[in-house]
């Protein structure tokens, strides 16, 4: 039998055996849509309340700041994370299959670029990566050219919360659907090279 015929017949037989209960499903879908709509209304109301509170609290403060003489500190550098780090990526199915296992050297530059020196086994792209710090969060498109790029289903950009001790930089995922980047950033702390 040809593969085309086998596929057509196999699919047809399997599909014919399925009889979804449309009425029950319709009720479930309508209930879920209503719940979601109610939740959206609650979120909008909460957001409006937060904005109002910020206006009420922030406006007098802003007026006070405006009236004070200018004693502001000089602007902070582009990133408090700039520096050179090393991290040892451990063995897992994905890190092994992508050749990521081993020692990585990562340089975060002040202008937001990421420069990577991966282990020899890593054959992926190491250019065109950047990061952006916003408070205690960092957004990065690391591995956007392959492991987290258009060919995968992952988001091109991930968001992490960062924290640091004297010599260690640690990341906790906020949102990132790219498994490789999560393993790279979150699984072990980065050690700063003095």
């Amino acid at each position: 039998m040809s593969i085309d015929r086998r596929l057509r017949e196999g699919f047809r037989q399997a599909a014919d055996a399925l009889t979804p209960d449309s009425l029950a499903a319709l009720h479930a879908v309508e209930r879920r849509a209503q719940r979601r709509q109610r939740r959206a209304v609650v979120v909008q109301l909460a957001a409006a309340a937060v904005v109002m509170a910020l206006v009420l609290v922030g406006l007098p403060w802003a007026v006070g700041q405006w009236q004070r003489p200018d004693t502001a500190a000089p602007p902070a550098p582009a990133s408090g994370l700039a520096g050179e780090y090393v991290v040892d990526i451990g063995e897992s199915g994905l890190t092994r299959s992508e050749g990521m296992v081993g020692r990585w050297i990562i340089r975060l530059t002040r202008d937001g670029a990421i420069v990577l020196v991966p282990p020899d086994s890593f054959q992926g792209s190491r250019t065109g990566m950047s990061y952006q710090v916003d408070g205690d969060q960092i957004r990065t498109n690391a591995f956007v050219n392959d492991l987290c790029g258009a060919a995968s289903s992952a988001d091109p950009v991930g968001t992490y919360r960062w924290s640091r001790t004297a010599s260690m930089l640690r990341f906790t995922v906020v949102t990132d659907s790219c498994e490789a980047r999560r393993l790279f950033l979150e699984d072990q702390p980065w050690e700063e090279v003095p």
Partner: protein, 166 residues
Amino acid sequence: MEAAEDFRWMFSAEYPAVVRTVFLVLHDYARSEEIAQDAFVQLLRHWEKVRRYEAPDAWVRRVAIRLATRDAKRERRRAVLARGTIERDPVEPSPVATIDPDLVAALRRLPAKQRSVVVLFYFEDRPMEEIAEIVGCSVSTGWVHLHRARKRLATLLSEEVGNDVH
């Protein structure tokens, strides 16, 4: 026709077909129903706009297929992370519609996007232009997915495969 009634009519007409298509991609009936319902919840949220489209059924199918593809990729990635290779991904018999278990086993070895293209082509009989639109790739990439999938399936199932797709 009133929007809500219009939606119910559309749901009754399309829901079983969407469940079947998603099932043929995932081979997990409960998950297929969940994903089909997720797609219709999204459709209902955007119904005022989508109902004016020429083919609202294509819209919901696109959402469902993309959700299914993402789900299948996650499942594959979990298998890879757990075992280090996709070749050893176990094939669990589905309680529903195991008409041709060897075919199911072979399909589960295909990458998610190839599976979706194969199902849309052979089960839904859609032209490659529509398939490419639904899975989110170019027409030529769609053909590449289909040819690779056929070759791999033919090898796994010891079937004949010609150059022409029938």
